[in-house]
Symmetry: C2
């Protein structure tokens, strides 16, 4: 499989920043303060697994004009210097008494004095990755500063992917598809679900994934009871429906889709659930056009799901955005009126509940082209495959 280039050209970061600044100007924001792995990586290219340690906060400030400014622990300076960011301010973290707060205060004081407004992602699907007490101290030190929600700016920007981002997403989806295609070669009746998961991860790594941070699923007679559990050592039995749902990563970008198989034999109900979800995905593919909304997509899928399940499963939505995170905005849900746009990368994820506490989920990954979707995942077979 031919790999795309790793990283991005500087022009990509410049364009992202300029687009953010244009959205910021429309909302009268004099800057946006970012604290999370995905947001920092999006604007700088700073990529590390070190975020898994909760010890140190990391900050990037996108000013109204010019390049982002990094305020980060000294341990990250060498890596940040490899990015396009010029203004890198560091401190010897951890420093519980002052983990970047005085550096942030110094940066933001001129804006506070002018009594202008900055943005921080505060809304749906966000979290502030710094100690809340430090955030309170920062605000107390900057009494004139007004803080608005920057979530719409950042989420709208990130939801439209560039050609280089789509190439990475397409690559990791192809790797994921190739791994799913091999599952019947290594999964068999009697194998523990944990062993299936282990083998899946090893196959994905061999197939070129950088990592398999996300793999969940289930297996039980005729369906499964939930879709977020870690695997048990319970051996696969004839009549089980096995589902694996993976987020593999390549150069920081995720795939997120699943596949279902019956072990030895599929009962009528499982085959019907599978068929319903397959057709719900078809309806989603049909509705996945620029100009439609997420709500349209949701309705197209839930109309088919309703044949078997009025509640539309209990996942809460029928798909979402995809990129630097396993799930991103928007949501295919009745509440989300976001207009679908060209170059959005999305999952279609219809689910349904049936029988005695059983459920089933299907998922595909797509990119929106002018006339409709292009599948990034290899479409699941139309009938429940049997291993």
């Amino acid at each position: 499989m031919q790999e795309p280039a790793r990283g991005f050209q500087q022009t990509e970061y410049k364009l992202r920043t300029e687009r953010a600044q244009s959205l910021m100007a429309a909302l009268d924001l004099a800057g946006v303060l970012l604290t999370t792995q995905a947001d920092v990586q999006y604007f700088t290219g700073f990529q590390t697994l070190f975020w898994q340690s909760p010890t140190r906060p990391w900050f990037v400030f996108v000013p109204a004009t010019g390049k982002p400014i990094a305020i980060i622990p000294e341990i990250g300076a060498a890596l940040m210097r490899q990015t396009w960011v010029d203004d890198i301010r560091t401190w010897a973290a951890p420093a519980p008494d002052d983990d970047g707060v005085s550096l942030l205060t110094e940066l933001l004081m001129p804006l506070a004095r002018e009594n202008v407004q900055i943005g921080v992602p505060k809304g749906h699907e966000t979290a502030l990755r710094m100690p809340l007490s430090d955030w309170e101290r920062l605000n107390a030190a900057l009494p004139g500063l007004r803080v608005a929600d920057a979530a719409p700016v950042i989420q709208n920007l990130r939801s439209i992917k560039s050609p280089a981002e789509i190439a990475k997403l397409s690559h990791i989806c192809a790797i994921g598809s190739a791994v799913f295609a091999k599952v019947p070669d290594f999964v068999h009746e009697g194998m523990g679900l944990d062993a299936c998961f282990r083998k899946f991860k090893q196959t994905a790594l061999s197939g070129g994934a950088d990592d398999v941070p996300y793999l969940v699923g289930g297996a039980a007679q005729g369906g499964y009871a939930d879709v977020i559990s870690p695997p048990t050592s319970q051996p696969l039995q004839r009549g089980d429906v096995l589902m694996m749902d993976t987020g593999c990563v390549w150069d920081g970008y995720y795939c997120d889709f699943d596949r279902n198989w019956a072990i030895g034999h599929a009962d009528d109900q499982a085959r019907r659930a599978y068929d319903t979800l397959w057709r719900a995905t078809e309806a989603g593919l049909e509705a996945a056009k620029p100009g439609n909304t997420c709500r349209d997509l949701f309705r197209a899928m839930s109309h088919v799901i309703a044949e078997m399940d009025d509640s539309g499963g209990d996942i809460g939505r029928l798909g979402h955005g995809l990129g630097l995170q396993l799930t991103e905005q928007p949501s295919h849900a009745a509440f989300d009126h976001t207009e679908l746009k060209e170059n959005m990368v999305l999952t279609l994820e219809p689910s349904l509940s049936y029988g005695d506490g059983l459920m089933m989920v299907h998922e595909e990954n797509i990119v929106l082209c002018p006339d409709g979707p292009r599948l990034l995942s290899t479409r699941a077979p139309a009938t429940l495959p049997i291993i």
Copy 2:
């Protein structure tokens, strides 16, 4: 390798909760609200990779008496019902207009009316994993509620491990040690660093790790430039020092240690750096006794490091706690006066800077016994091994 039992007895969660409640009583806290993966898992046993999706907030409230109360998205209800928690309140998330806020308001209103104080982890090494605007709405809806920092309660509690936790940590450290022992069998001159990483992960999965969420490192002539970068495809060359630092996971518990090797040949400076760090670790092992403080541990190690590097490297600390997270409190740093106690599980992580922008890091994992440390990782060889 004989695996410990997965999960914990209910008595373990009961004890954790009662200890928290006793610490809460001392601080006059009528409850503690928790929002992060590790804190929720610690009190409930709720374990899932689904936290990687930022879409949904999850809440657990530890009241002054009785079992924790879970306020969670419906998608997690089936899994939470498998834990010891009885009171599980759910909503159909995502719901941007009300992602648990009204359920939290209902729960906390009686406490707000009494004008009592609850705790939320707000201090060093914490973050509130919910939208900041929802937090602000919650506070606005509960004007009488006072919120104090619960970080000390939770961090002190989690820093002392139970025998069952130590068994899990010991197991994953043994798996990590076995993988490191195999590195000379699969790493060779000319191999890309990314290929080394991939092979390391596959070997760890074969060796029984559930996952390898953390693997960082570096390789360059006579040392490496930073310790948090993802690997490049740069082939290993004779004279390189290769370092890999891993956080492998078993049943939710992490190891966190590293190993260094020279490829083909080690220069004098690299051998001297290695020797200095090996002896710094010895000094750390000597000082790692209940009754000493983290600062004592830091000083013991930095005294040796100072032979080559006055700054003590630029990692910011020389080790930390370990458990459900890759890094936990306390920190082996001059600022941390935490008293070392029996059954703390810690890393010793001396580092130094030398030469022209080079650095080296050593790391071991230990558990504190009454008379001193027991190594959980197999001690690194006393001289820089050559592959």
